[in-house]
Amino acid sequence: MIADKLSSFIRDAAPYPERGYHLQGAALPCNLPQIAGVFLAEGFHLEMLTCQDRRETDRVFRLIYQFNRYGAPQRHVISADLSPDATAPSIAAIFPAADWYEREIFDMYGVVFDGHPDLKRILMEEDYVGHPLLKNFVDPPSPYRSE
């Protein structure tokens, strides 16, 4: 049972009818590769990986890893709070799906993932300055735009 193996991380069961996922947990960023390894071994896939800019309220970036299984859904949401000046470990070596998700988070939030094979922008252009999904984002002036 996956919950036993991750008992130190899984905080509590989430009400599926309201939340859409079955279990949620909080982890330290340094434990993420270990957790991802357990999920891989148990036949889960990384359904989604995203980030939230919670610097104003909690002074952290919250990384949200969502694992699921085919067949009867077993959705597990693991969140990891990252202080704004820290880096997160990459799990792209475990789940290749994380490769692009981590690039997207780097692009949108500026969060750096250690050990990522090729961390570069994915959606914004290569020479873009800034990270658009930050809450304090201001669009930089563009030489191509007429005001």
């Binding site: 009818p17 309201e18 939340r19 859409g20 996922y21 891989l40 036949g43 889960f44 896939h45 990384l46 359904e47 989604m48 995203t50 939230q52 800019d53 949200i64 969502q66 699921n68 085919y70 067949g71 009867a72 859904p73 959705r75 949401v77 789940f95 290749p96 799906a97 490769d99 692009w100 949108m108 090729d118 922008r121 994915i122 959606l123 914004m124 252009e125 658009p132 999904l133 809450k135 984002f137």
Partner: protein, 376 residues
Amino acid sequence: MDSRFEVAQDPQNRDTYYLNMGPQHPSTHGVMRIKLHLDGERVISAEPVIGYGHRAHEKMAENRDYLQFLPNPSRVDYLGGMIYNVGYCQAIERAMGIDVPERAEYIRIICNELNRISSHLLWLGTFLMDLGAFTPFLYAFDDREKILDILDRITGSRLTYCYARFGGVSLDVDDVFLEQVANFCTYFRDRIKEFEKLVIGNVIFRERTIGVGVFAPDLVQKYAITGPCLRAMGVAHDVRKAEPYGIYDRFDFDVPTQTEGDCFARTLVRMEELRQSIRIVEQATSAMPDGPFVAARVPRRIRPPEGDCYFCVESPRGSFGMYIASDGSDIPFRLKLRTPSFSHISTMPAVMPGTLLADAVAILGSIDIVVPEIDR
């Protein structure tokens, strides 16, 4: 040149080169680029370069309220617009606990499945055009037009629908609509047979697709493949069955699967899905109840309770999910769109190496990507 692209070269064979497929290329079905490293016609490595059509839908969600974001989801995937539009409403309805009247649920099912058929028809036409067959494109668009006419009459739009509302749909349907849908179903059942005769049995088509673009079984779990691509690999997973949303649990339909995981298997799965969608539409049309088409009591202010929630629907391409983080205000704190095409296109560096350039086009066509959905 990027050091990752350096490969050990045979001294006798130094003619490897790089080719940009796209950003403007008919087979990428949108503005997307694939950086191909080729040895003659054989692909050594492939790297998709995306983001040309990035429209910042997720940023837009953070500076407008839930209702103002309603027109956006159908623009994310313009071929499955109805399914995304309805899915977004269902996500909010579940978070807020809004009940949807029976009639609205049935209308949504019919519109969803008609939209799925029209999306699969467009895929069929363009995929075969990628392979060099022009005629099926005209046949598929002819039939697709009939669906667009039916939906146009009800929703007022032909592609980017904004028909669903929180708690129902914006306009009621009439008997003419039900009659049109019933007529279309009868007509289309015969038409599927014709498509199969034209396409599936065609020897050139079989040569181009059988054994081409096989997804290795371990890719499924590592890349979170969903939708027809997953079912073509023998995993009978469909969100409509696994975690039924709306009233999908009331309908009798099968989840078609194939085991080979090649372009041909993906075609067969989608052809069978056309038939299953027709089955659902027929059941829904015959059981359509009377009554209101929108909930009588919908809160004036859409404010989902504080916390995160996830809701996913089966789009024509796979599992489309929304991760909505609410801080209890009118405006989403964060709305993450989990789109299937994004996951599928990220498998290309693992799938394309070793195939021929012409097969790379077939693979790209067979996974049915929608580029705006990748870029969001």
